[in-house]
């Protein structure tokens, strides 16, 4: 197998050039990566492969690229793959990138073993196996990076979509839009409760006008939030209960006896105002005592 290492390192320049030239424009993605960067990545990969081949024996190769001798090669592949994932390359582009290395390497091998069929076949087979395994490592690293990216975006989306609004002194509103799953409810709950403490608000109106369905799970989540708020000394009012939701709740046998619910947010707000000892009054219609503009001039003359 060290023959393979020799073959590759002896023909490195030619292999690299053929590799890059052989890549169709769609795999090259000149819009995502410059010629120079591409060149660098290809060099790094070839060096890593040679190093891996030299450091591991034939037994290692049979066992795949998991051995210690391939550690730094795997890292190189993983980091190149991860950076491509972040840049926006597709799975196919990333896999093809590695697999298209086969042709130039096979060409180099054939050039070395002219006439010796057995050696030729063995070496080509070994190279093929190797590149397949490395392509798998690359694809796996790619997937992991994409998943992390998606997770992070989901998180940001969650945080953006559950704002807590202060309606009045001591009265908060939490308009929920969209579906409530476990992860989201956790975030909603924590956010609401922390705001309750920070603003010393005794009332929190949870408006579910924007929640499409309420099943047993969603109801449980809501109940947990309400119970936690109560333990802290605050009271939750659920508003925005649509007729269909009311029906669903009754059909499912969900017990909302201890929960105050209102059809409209405004009703809930009125209730919270009332419970906190306030009412809304109209301003008196008597004319103002002085023209505020002339009052300004008067003061200046003083």
């Amino acid at each position: 197998m060290n023959q393979l290492a020799e073959i590759i390192s002896r023909n490195e320049d030619r292999i690299r050039t053929q590799w890059i030239d052989g890549m169709s424009k769609s795999v090259q993605r000149a819009d995502l990566i410059t010629k120079a960067e591409l060149d660098e990545q290809c060099s790094a990969i070839l060096t890593a492969i040679v190093a891996g081949l030299k450091s591991s024996g034939p037994a290692d190769l049979m066992g795949g690229v998991a051995g210690a001798g391939w550690d730094s090669a795997r890292e190189t592949f993983q980091s190149i793959s991860a950076s491509r994932a972040r840049q926006g390359f597709s799975t196919v582009e990333v896999a093809t990138y590695v697999l298209s290395l086969k042709q130039p390497i096979f060409a180099a091998i054939r050039g070395t073993f002219k006439g010796n069929q057995d050696e030729l076949f063995e070496t080509i087979w070994a190279a093929s196996e190797l590149l397949d395994r490395l392509a798998l490592v690359t694809t796996e690293a790619y997937m992991t990076t994409r998943e992390e990216l998606i997770l992070r975006q989901q998180q940001e989306l969650l945080e953006l979509s559950t704002p807590v609004v202060k309606l009045w002194d001591g009265i908060l509103a939490l308009p929920i839009i969209g579906t409530l799953d476990s992860a989201r409810t956790q975030m909603v709950m924590e956010n609401l409760l922390q705001t309750v403490v920070a603003t010393n608000s005794k009332f929190a109106i949870i408006d579910i006008t924007g929640v499409p369905t309420v099943d047993t799970l969603v109801a449980q989540h809501l109940l947990k939030t309400i119970t936690a708020a109560r333990l802290m000394g605050a009271e939750c009012i659920i508003s925005g209960v649509r007729p269909q939701i009311a029906q669903t709740i009754v059909h499912l046998g969900i017990n909302l006896e201890d929960v105050v619910t209102k059809a409209k947010l405004s009703d809930a707000f009125a209730l919270a105002l009332d419970r906190s000892g306030r009412y809304v009054a109209r301003k008196s219609t008597a004319p103002p005592k002085a023209n505020p503009v002339s009052a300004l001039f008067e003061r200046r003359e003083e």
Binding site: T144, E148, Q186, E190
Partner: protein, 134 residues
């Protein structure tokens, strides 16, 4: 999966339960768990440590920090050589009690962690393992 760090805490009296809680809190902070997750972990530890002490007649808590790829986690094992639990399923139900109070706290603790497993043999002892991932 790797075990990065390991420590032990004997549970012989109620003060040990406090020390166990503090240890779990510290390790959870080091692993950068959110405040809510820290609280859940420490509370679960408190329940299970107390169980080991009161029902298990004393035992030990083993605390390990884990790493599984990019994820990091905290694993707690509570072992005692007490009378054991004859009906584990029953014990996991909320409200089940074998003495005074609300019960063994097992069902509740289960909800506070990501992974929960329990082995128990009557006359030999009980071992509860819980893991919370960050």
């Amino acid at each position: 999966m790797n075990i990065l760090k390991r420590d032990q805490q004997h549970l012989k009296n109620s003060n040990d339960v406090l020390v166990a809680r503090q240890k779990v809190r510290q390790w959870a902070i080091e692993l950068r768990f959110s405040l809510v997750d820290q609280t859940k972990l420490v509370t679960a530890a408190s329940e299970l440590a107390r169980n080991a002490l009161e029902h298990g007649l004393g035992g030990v808590m083993i605390i390990e920090s884990l790493s599984n790829g990019p994820k990091s986690g905290l694993r707690l094992v509570f072992e005692d050589q007490g009378p054991g639990i004859p009906d584990i399923e029953l014990a996991l139900k909320d409200g089940f009690t074998s003495g005074s109070g609300l019960g063994l706290g097992l069902g509740g603790s289960k909800r506070l962690v990501n992974e929960f497993s329990i082995e128990s043999e009557v006359g030999k002892g009980t071992k509860v393992t819980v893991v919370r991932w960050r």
